[in-house]
Symmetry: C3
Subunit: 412 residues, 3 copies
């Protein structure tokens, strides 16, 4: 078994493997070692939901008792889509011939078969275990699905503040890793997002300055990597610190969400440290599409914090004026963080297919890719990749070390 985090050279696995998540691919095999977010509890209604996960066509549903299941989309009988099936009688019934499956894929009924027939008992449809945690639905699509590893106790889902939210799923049509590794590249915030900020990004303007960028450091962690951004503090020997975590396989924690939207005296706020926890879970649908799930907690004093955040985001109207001759697809985009990400991440193409020339400021990306390649290698060798929670760690709170605030500068 490969040592977790070992820096040995990847054999065979290359950068070009990272974006590709289909069954049998190196990255696809690695990704399947983790529990993966496949939906939100709030958006799973009393109808089946066709969903593609890691290149597999699946159907997510909640049976009448409220338990969620994830089955192969196509009925094993004659292939009709279970997306149009009926949730009834303890499972999901195929519309074509009425085969009924429970969330474990076990066939419970075959209305047209002779009653004495035991065929039904023998049919087990593709199914993946699903667990609900704090409003998110996680599936395990890896080996040994009858005895999967423990679902991590992700902090923002189990250790809640006085206010919390799960946002509706967001969809994007480019490769998941373009989004994910973007967080290992803090320089882009100072450049791409320099005009963003909901009209009042006093913190952003101050910390992520285009002309005076923060100092960046990249620290390998048990769960993946941490981006440490620092700037001199108000007094000698102090510094502002703003961190961001990337946890494998595809979680990002942004530390400074609340400051981004702070109207006044952001520096004063940051001194008190962050009171908002913001996690993003990235789930690839296939190599060209992904879903984004979020989990937020707020422990601060402000009432209706998330509603205020939503209001601020709704103001995200790009300020860029668009000329009548400007027929570019995504115009206007400036000032809107998500559209800014779209015109860059969304046009990069696939890692390993595009050509690149990397510099010193890409050392975070370079380091993070190595961490991912190591994790893939570890998984392919049968080991426990970074960020995966094994049986031994079951029950432990899964927290990311993402600090934001003012601190005394370390002397070294």
């Amino acid at each position: 078994m490969a040592k977790v985090g070992a820096k040995k050279k990847s054999k065979g696995v290359t950068l070009a493997d990272i974006p590709r998540v289909g069954p049998g691919t190196p990255c696809g095999q690695w990704f399947r070692r983790y529990w993966i977010v496949v939906g939100t509890a709030q958006e799973l209604y009393d109808i089946p939901q066709a969903v593609k996960i890691l290149g597999e066509d699946l159907v997510l549903f909640r049976d009448q008792s409220g338990k969620a299941g994830l089955l192969g989309e196509h009925c094993p009988h004659r292939g009709a889509s279970l997306e149009y099936g009926d949730i009834e009688d303890g499972g999901l019934r195929c519309p074509y011939h009425g085969w009924l499956f429970n969330i474990h894929g076990q066939c419970l009924e075959m209305p047209a078969e002779p009653k004495e027939n035991k065929f039904c008992q023998k049919v087990k449809h593709l199914s993946y275990p699903v667990k609900e945690l704090g409003g998110l639905l996680f599936a395990y699509m890896g080996p040994n699905r009858d005895n999967p590893p423990p679902l991590p106790n992700y902090a923002p889902l189990v250790d809640r503040g006085n206010q919390w939210q799960i946002e509706p799923v967001r969809h994007a049509d480019y490769n998941w890793f373009n989004f994910f590794e973007n967080s290992a590249d803090p320089a882009h915030v100072c450049i791409l997002h320099r005009d963003a900020g909901y009209g009042q990004q006093s913190w952003g303007n101050q910390f992520f300055s285009y002309t005076e960028m923060p100092h960046f450091e990249f620290v390998e962690m048990d769960y993946g990597m941490k981006v440490v951004m620092t700037k001199p503090g108000p007094e000698l020997g102090t510094e502002f610190v703003d961190e961001m975590s990337l946890a494998l396989p595809s979680i990002v924690q942004v530390g400074d969400t609340e400051f981004v939207h702070a109207e006044v005296d952001a520096a004063a706020l940051i001194k008190a440290g962050s009171q908002c926890e913001h996690w993003m879970f990235v789930t690839p649908n296939d190599d060209d599409h992904f879903m984004l799930f979020t989990a937020d907690n707020y422990r601060g004093p402000e009432a209706n914090f998330f509603e205020k955040l939503k209001t601020l985001r709704a103001k995200e109207t790009p300020v860029q004026e668009v000329m009548p001759y400007d027929k570019r697809k995504f115009m206007p985009y400036k000032g809107n963080v998500r559209k800014e990400d779209l015109v860059t991440q969304g046009t990069q193409g696939l890692l390993g297919e595009r050509s690149e020339q990397l510099g010193v400021s890409d050392r975070g990306v370079i380091k993070f890719r190595k961490i991912v390649l190591d994790a893939i290698e570890t998984a392919l060798n049968g080991g426990q990749p970074k960020g995966m929670v094994g049986k031994k760690q079951a029950g432990e709170l899964y927290r990311l070390e993402t600090q934001v605030g003012l601190r005394t500068k370390s002397s070294n």
Copy 2:
């Protein structure tokens, strides 16, 4: 030459070959041994009609004398589409350089060539013989097109009732065989269509009951296969019988069309036997699209029978309530037979590509696939496949044995 209907094992030809109809494919070669419906007389106007048949791009037209022709879509000269040609001067004239072709593909004029030039006489464009029968246009795309086999005297097209109709062509965008073999699978009627029936399907509710399905039998016939569905009759020793025929290459006769729409006392009606003849001809455009042509006859006493049928079908509004969060593509579908077929047949994927697990209730499908494979094999071996009418049978009435009514139970 293989014996017609011989049950010998198929060599080389597999289930995966059945859906694929392009030139040179096993199924495509077999299909080309029959006359194939390519259009309706009523819908062929004074303009050329581009149509794809069995994967070939063709153009159907009727010359000024009223004779229908089917030519390669692209002019043999420089490839322009004849879809935009002019019907004049005894043929179809290419818009680009005016080459004129008659329905036999013979080039009649080349306006830009020297008048003494014999090039024109030498050019014969791809053409398939077309015959009109009872409002349908049949083409023969097989070998020896100068001496094709006789066009079968399909009963509903030559032996008409007091009322008859040819419906406008219907188009579907899934594989033809998903539609065709669906008729070898009567159980689906009791399950998939259990909520259908135009609001008043007393016959369907009674005969195709979800909880008390009819008895099904599958009988190999000269023309293909017959599905025999029976239920106990009103008196001892009697039974209701409802049959459906599948004739090769792609004809379905449904026996009980009129009962499906009977408002009251369907049992009384069925006792009198069927007075409506309903044939469907399936024509693959390519592996993912097909056309559906119908021919109906009615011999009963009801006036304006087909108009009433149309009115009933127009009421086919699905009764299913659709929730605001339900964004599935084909919603609502329940209660509308054609949409019910679409969400099942239309999502199955290709036979041979999808995985399947078949049971006792699929014995009709299993049997029918074997019949089709045998027919393909026979055709590939140079024989006369099931359902094809040879020179010897020319002129015979081509009728399918599709009984509906009440009968004395046979004693065995």
Copy 3:
């Protein structure tokens, strides 16, 4: 080095190579020996313009000093599209990390890199030299881009009449060579366009008669080929002549533009010779799309000549009546020259893929294809292909010999 215009047999290069222009293809290599029109000066605004040329994704822009550049669309750093970049600070700045490139592809700034870093100097992005001539933007995408051949002094761009115009770019979605070789085929004018003419094509009706076509001759020229069309003149020993030129790689000069639109007494007009110069430059985007650029000059006495031409063209409403059952895509098309071209050139498919049967009236096309194949061969052998202007011819006026008028018949 192959002799220019040598008629030796092409080795390896076939007709099927002509439509394909991607990097590395024979035709693509040949095409890249010429300066190619990539845009119009008038339509290049203060924003980058994504444009595909010969299968390459590029971005055209004009820097703040007004100089046009053509760079690879994707930033060499991490691949984001420069289409959304900012034109500022002496170049085009990538939105993602702010890399700044001048029109030569030289990287000028990398805001996130350490200031002392020399990485920036080493990065040179893909760039093609661009020159502006008479309102058109030409790029050179061939070998030795630091020392490209001279841009030809195309007559209508440098030797202007009292009125001139560059029309806005037109886009088409079929292969460029279908359009280009169409001009080597004058017979199509008499046939395809016989109903066209803006309602008043007295010249066209007279000269390009369907029943009495002109005499056609095809003359190989230094620049490509000339189509010579003649008809008997008003007096014995005279003839009307109307010529059209095809210059490699993709220029067409039509000689009779003004007569096509002449309302009355076209014959009188033609006697005086043409006073309008009309060139078309064809630029393939890829194998299925091309752009069309035009350059016109007028030396005649009529005021507002081009506005009048525009008005006449605006009247180009097809006269063809369209029946309600006629659902063909491009209806109506008759009477509109450009739509007539679309239903023919646009449906032919690729040369070399479509099957063809050519006659005597195709001798122009046959001859022209040979000329193109020879030119491709010459280019592949390192020679100077027809129509290319070498260092020795730099500065010479590039004129095509396209005569229109009445002349004394030559005695031979």
